[in-house]
């Protein structure tokens, strides 16, 4: 299987490469993921959402924050020529909100995903590298965050932070990123730690240590490059979970009312009574978009996992 061997080479190889080689490796990985139908679906969908995030502002017929967009004579109306996705409870164009929503959902998902990956890698490397009581304490924390019921914890934390919204960069959206990052790092830590435990005993680490390299140097130059492939593969899943998490927290009214993410549009629709009025055009596009977008990340993750799992490959 040509696909898997290349992906595996990318996942397990890459020891402190120069930038050009890394870029080539990344292109090859993307191409090999795209060769599988599931992977192609994922990549195309993600590319589409990225495009929508970049162009959404320019394409949107209305700015939902401007007073001109309010049109109370045409409230809660279904799709029509004037409003392709219908209107909301204030007569505003829902297509515009949908197009703008891509940007917020993407940015929040990526920011929270990257932050989780960074926290997860740092904690995992420290736990695996130092061992002893550091490892035991960090693993305890990690296990705790893995089993904790996510929704009650995230919701409690976000609610407690609401008063500080002005002091946190990004306001309420920033709080959502922060909460998702705090609750999302544990999975990465577990995987990274396991990898570091075996890396720590390898010759190149031994050699660096005998030559007097500091702990920080070894972790930075010898351990980190070797765990990065796993971190990348794993962050695909974390971004997916963060996009879902953003939709969840927005549904509790914790999002920024002035920014339109797919999650907040879903929340607005629910609050405006879209269910009882049968206003499917209000909830279907954002809900389906979140589902497809998350599914795309899972699909890419699944292709990477299938390629990397030795048992699946042996078949």
């Amino acid at each position: 299987m040509a696909v898997s061997s290349e992906t595996v080479a990318l996942l397990l190889g890459a020891e402190g490469n120069p930038f050009a080689r890394r870029l080539r490796g990344a292109t090859r990985a993307v191409r090999s993921i795209g060769r599988r139908p599931l992977g192609a679906f994922g990549l195309v969908t993600i590319a589409f959402v990225v495009l929508m995030a970049l162009l959404g502002g320019a394409l949107a017929p209305q700015n939902p924050l401007s007073t001109a967009s309010f049109d109370f004579a045409h409230r809660m109306q279904g799709p029509s020529g004037a409003h392709w996705l219908g209107t909301d409870e204030s007569g505003r164009d829902l297509l515009s909100q949908f197009l703008l929503g891509a940007r917020v959902s993407l940015i929040v998902g990526l920011a929270a995903g990257i932050a989780s990956a960074v926290i997860g890698s740092v904690v995992g490397i420290c736990a695996g590298y130092f061992g002893g009581w550091v490892d035991r304490a960090l693993t305890f924390l990690d296990d705790w965050f893995l089993v904790i019921p996510f929704v009650p914890f995230a919701v409690l934390m976000a609610a407690l932070l609401q008063d500080d919204a002005r002091r946190i960069p990004g306001g309420r959206t920033g709080i959502i990123v922060l909460v998702l990052a705090i609750t999302g790092w544990a999975g990465t830590t577990r995987i990274v730690r396991a990898q570091v435990l075996s890396l720590r005993e390898r010759e190149f680490v031994e050699r660096a240590r005998s030559q007097g390299a500091s702990h920080f140097w070894i972790m930075r130059r010898h351990i980190l490059p070797n765990v990065m492939p796993i971190v990348w593969a794993n962050s695909v899943l974390i971004v997916a979970l963060s996009v879902l998490g953003e939709a969840g927290l927005s549904y509790f009214g914790l999002g920024d009312p002035d920014s339109f993410s797919w999650g907040t549009v879903l929340y607005n629709g629910f609050q405006a009574g879209a269910i009882n009025q049968g206003a499917w055009w209000y909830v279907l596009p954002p809900g389906a978009a979140i589902t497809l977008f998350v599914l795309a990340f899972f699909a890419v993750g699944q292709v990477i996992e299938d390629a990397a799992g030795p048992r699946a490959r042996a078949r």
Binding site: D143, P152, G248, F270, G278, T291
Partner: protein, 320 residues
């Protein structure tokens, strides 16, 4: 083996202590509880001081912590800002309603999910596997509130097949069997929605753990010594593949709690989820804290239980 059990129990207790402490400091690190408590406008200064004193908020942090731990362990939580009643009572009333949804849904999802997982693992790579895994992944990717909204729109607004609101007919004072029937009718949609939203956790885990078991050395051995394929699967692959499912069923309580919060709020089902949703809209922090404490304690307890079950079932673990 006794040492292993003792270790697990100790760990669970330490984790519980950690949750208790975190719950206390989370509340105090972010914002001042004196301000949270006193959201009443035009409150006289004397009343204010009295309330602060009554709750011990004017004492040292360590004293407050002591009072908090003692109260919590004796089942005494704070007072709900919104309902004006003890959080313990408010949660106690909501809990049975949540269990009506959560227990059948968890059972259904665990059985159905395990079965689907085995089914797709045995035909790995086939069209059937593709469809089942695709469906599982789609359900997993769907925001629970969106799934619930879609279900209500289709089944109760358009098809009018089931009621979508509350747990019983409004104003009903039916007793006995007719009350049970009433509640059952109202529970059908939320239970099925919850089942669908958590099903994928089981089916996806079972798929990977079962196909791993099928390709393991002991299955090769079982075939080599001439066991029939059926016997080999039932006696060797299934028990091994089920171990992660047991662990998952315990951990899944976290997902169940999450799912139930979204689904109850869409269906206006008067349980813990609806309580949480309302508490958020009213900024009723003590209730949120209580829900967090309760669900965390339940998850820790169930994890301990799962660990003990695995110790009892798995001879490899028992031997250590």
């Amino acid at each position: 083996m006794m040492r292993l059990i003792a270790e697990k129990v100790t760990l669970a207790l330490v984790t519980l202590a950690f949750v208790l402490t975190l719950n206390f400091f989370l509340f105090r690190a972010v914002g001042d509880p004196r301000n949270d408590l006193l959201r009443v406008p035009h409150m006289p200064a004397a009343e204010r001081t009295h309330l602060i004193h009554e709750r011990g908020l004017d004492r040292s942090l360590l004293d407050q912590y002591g009072i908090y731990v003692r109260n919590t362990l004796s089942g005494q939580l704070e007072t709900s800002y919104h309902a004006g009643r003890p959080v313990t009572d408010v949660i106690g009333e909501a809990l049975p309603n949540t269990l009506i949804l959560a227990l059948p849904a968890t059972l259904l999802a665990a059985l159905l999910g395990t079965w689907i997982g085995i089914l797709s693992a045995r035909r790995r790579g086939s069209a059937a596997d593709g469809a089942l895994t695709g469906a599982s992944l789609t359900l997993y990717s769907m925001p629970e509130q969106f799934l619930a909204i879609a279900v209500v729109l289709v089944f109760s607004i358009w098809l009018k097949a089931f009621p979508s609101q509350l747990s019983e007919e409004p104003g009903s004072n039916a007793q006995g069997l007719s009350h049970v029937w009433d509640v059952t009718q109202h529970a059908v949609l939320p239970v099925l929605t919850l089942t669908a939203s958590i099903l994928a956790s089981w089916s996806l885990i079972m798929r990977s753990s079962f196909s791993e078991a099928m390709h393991s050395d002991y299955m090769t051995t079982a075939r080599a010594i001439g066991l029939s394929p059926r016997r080999a699967v039932l006696r060797h692959a299934v028990p091994n593949a089920l171990l992660p499912v047991i662990a998952l069923t315990a951990i899944s309580l976290g997902y169940v709690v999450g799912g139930v919060i979204f689904i109850e709020s869409v269906f206006s089902w008067p349980g813990i989820g609806q309580l949480t949703y309302d508490a958020l809209l009213n900024r009723d922090l003590p209730v949120l804290q209580g829900v967090f404490l309760l669900t965390s304690a339940a998850v820790i307890f169930l994890n301990l239980l799962a660990d003990l079950v695995i110790i009892a079932l798995d001879p490899r673990v028992r031997a250590t």
